[in-house]
Amino acid sequence: MLLESIKMSYENIVRNKLRSFLTMLGIVIGVASIIALITIVQGATNSISDQVTELGANKITVNVMGTPLKQGLNQEDMLNISEEENIKGVSPTISGKTGIIYEGKLMENVTVQGKNDVYFNMDTSLLKTGRPINILDLNSKNQVVIIGSDIIKELYYGVDPIGKDLVINGTSYTVIGTLNPSSGFSMGSNNESVIIPYTTAMRSLGVKDISSLDVFLEDTALADDTVTDLKGVLNPAFNYKDNAYTIFNMGDMIESFESMMSMMSLLLAGIAAISLVVGGIGIMNMMLVSITERTMEIGLRKALGATPKRIQLQFVIESIFLSLVGGLIGLVLGGLIAYTAAALIGIGFSLSIATILLAVGFSGLVGIVFGYMPARKASQLNPIDALRSL
């Protein structure tokens, strides 16, 4: 019975090709825009969160404001932190600004950063040439330096800087490595920095405390637990004073960014869904016209023994058929639009099963909702009036 109804619906739709196509167009546009918008936003979200992840999703940063009694962290605090679970390594940052000199050429206001071996181990792409800072440098407070790409351009143009000397804040250092240029986008740009062992930095810059610490995680999924553990170490260290430090979890930021983006894609899809509703009204309109045209046919079918339910089923199926076919065309069209857009903007393209189901489900639902009323009207036609209408 269902099969017969589907066959009849198909024949009726094919009979009025142009009209069926125009009716479907509303659904096609609605579904295509939903698919395209969701897919493009999803692709953009993935691309951006990938970039942010590269910045360090596996990293928690502790910034210390300190208390009057204890202005920063010392080596012992660092050691305590690094002994907590789920921690791969701890890297302090000590930074200051000073002038640097090579062969009489002066660069002012250069950022000097004190780092340790962990910093280089965690991201091997940092170093371009030479060697990283090692434990020996840290223990002996060696006067060695690794320089950023802008420093090379400025002071060592046309020279291999490795092994050359550099005067920082009046003391002479040996260049042991150079850094890869980092993208201007990232907030941790090292292009205009020089990096020295943090122990050396504490001595030469006269810094007693560490004010910033990067904690690298084994498992980012456990970041929240690790944050709790860190508080367990830091709170007693600062004597439970408020606002002594802040903990910045990169994973949190990515999470909130992603939830923001999914809100946005939901919003866009909602707007696109309005066009689906308009498409649905188009279908309803066509169904009503079709029923008026086929009044005699409906009357005859009833006289021949079609039950009201049967008539209703046939028209609902016709409506679902129209909107589903429209939905499938829209799916392909929307996919193509998203694919082209992704290629042009340079973001990833991934059409998820959920998106496809959403589109197909939505268009089917439109068919049922907007087909129901006309189909019901058809099923309630009085066969006598219907037959007389000829």
Partner: protein, 227 residues
């Protein structure tokens, strides 16, 4: 002989605004299996209303109507649809074939609603088209058939479910005299084979083909003796 149709005190009224218009007035009619009956009356006599009530397309205002023993009053829309499918074969003045379906598909229609499988449907429809002499026109659309042929397709469609009553409304009204006579010949043959036929007409010449003629005038029935 078995009684297939029994009408007792059937009345039907319509309201034209405030005014009540009685189209059928306490009509009594009994039809036995195998009868060929004509309801003869001029237009406005109430014969179309009789046809609608006999065909279960309309309900009487009062009175009792038994069709094959079923009390029509007790039935809902869905049950009425089943009764129409099983008990009644309609033949209309203007044939009422679906223009986009072939002769065979038109004949198959009532069997679809009877839930008959597609293979059996085809076989039974072909047999019936053979019976009305159109076995070589099964693939033709109605527009490719003459009026007489179209009415034969309609008769095949009416008979394919093996209904209790063949109910014909002016079956020759849209046909010329010669074709009309052929259709009446077919009716006589079918009745000879045992088919119960009720035919509604205004044409006394056509009505005479039936074994029994009942006059209808202003909503009242009167039996007429046939010579």
């Amino acid at each position: 002989m078995a009684e297939v149709l029994n009408m007792q005190n059937i009345s039907k009224s319509y309201y034209m605004g405030e005014e009540e218009l009685e189209v059928l007035s306490k009509v009594n009619l009994t039809v036995n299996s195998g009868e060929f009956l004509s309801l003869l009356g001029p237009s406005g006599s109430g014969k179309s209303t009789m046809m609608n009530i006999i065909g279960c397309l309309d309900m009487p205002t009062s009175g009792k109507y038994l069709l094959s023993g079923n009390d029509i009053e007790d039935l809902d829309e869905t049950e009425l649809a089943f009764i129409r499918n099983k008990e009644i074969g309609f033949v209309f003045q203007s044939f009422q074939l679906l223009p986009r379906l072939s002769a065979l598909q038109n004949v198959e229609l009532p069997l679809i609603y009877a839930g008959v499988s597609s293979a059996e449907r085809k076989e039974r429809s072909l047999n019936m088209l053979d019976r009305v002499g159109l076995v070589d026109k099964t693939k033709n659309l109605p527009t490719q058939l003459s009026g007489g042929q179209q009415q034969r397709v309609a008769i095949a469609r009416a008979l394919v479910t093996e209904p209790t009553i063949l109910l014909a409304d002016e079956p020759t009204g849209a046909l010329d005299q010669k074709t009309g006579a052929q259709v009446m010949e077919l009716f006589e043959e079918l009745n000879h084979d045992g088919r119960t036929i009720i035919m509604i007409t205004h044409d006394i010449g056509i009505a005479r083909h039936a074994k029994r003629v009942v006059n209808i005038l202003d909503g009242h029935l009167s039996e007429q003796e046939v010579q």
